[in-house]
Amino acid sequence: TQLLEQSPQFLSIQEGENLTVYCNSSSVFSSLQWYRQEPGEGPVLLVTVVTGGEVKKLKRLTFQFGDARKDSSLHITAAQTGDTGLYLCAASNTNAGKSTFGDGTTLTVKP
């Protein structure tokens, strides 16, 4: 079983602060995704990374895929209250179809 360990599990910060969420595994994946989920909704895809060492930016969010394609990080700069939610990493391998999900990080950004 391929496991994804996500940390921290909970994070509570003030608006304007920076934060980083980590997603680690002992397995190599062909691609890794980050999702954000709000109460009452399904997870929404933020980004997919596929190349070792890849860095992608989405406004204040920066995503990095490790060189060995075993780990990833999500960095948020100057967090806003609208960033509050459950952040999930997920990984898959080519043609496998299904994804493995991390344990999730619940982020609360306080005004």
Partner: protein, 115 residues
């Protein structure tokens, strides 16, 4: 990206009854996935539904408890049978987007509570 409609959005059921959840996609897809999620926690894959064949269940999930139908390439149902309080959870369907490296698109989920 695919648009997924899932219903009901929530339900409250009696012990021993069953609930069928429907998932409709606006495009044809090969595989559809059914997940269970406790609020604030990660997703656990129940099964993969393929059109024209039996669903593939993950360890810990069986067809008698979670029968799945996949009559065509845009629709699937998940039934949760013989409901008990332990079945209270959020159930989500999803489809794979191969153009995005295997990322998935999700419905909004069904929140199930058992009395």
């Amino acid at each position: 990206s695919a648009v997924i409609s899932q219903k009901p959005s929530r339900d409250i059921c009696q012990r021993g009854t069953s609930l069928t959840i429907q998932c409709q996609v606006d495009s044809q897809v090969t595989m559809m996935f059914w997940y269970r999620q406790q609020p604030g926690q990660s997703l656990t894959l129940i099964a993969t539904a393929n059109q024209g064949s039996e669903a593939t269940y993950e360890s810990g999930f069986v067809i008698d408890k979670f029968p799945i139908s996949r009559p065509n390439l845009t629709f699937s149902t998940l039934t949760v049978s013989n409901l008990s309080p332990e079945d209270s959870s959020i159930y989500l369907c999803s489809v794979e987007d191969r153009s995005r490296g295997g990322a998935q698109h999700f419905g909004d989920g069904t929140r199930l509570s058992i009395l």
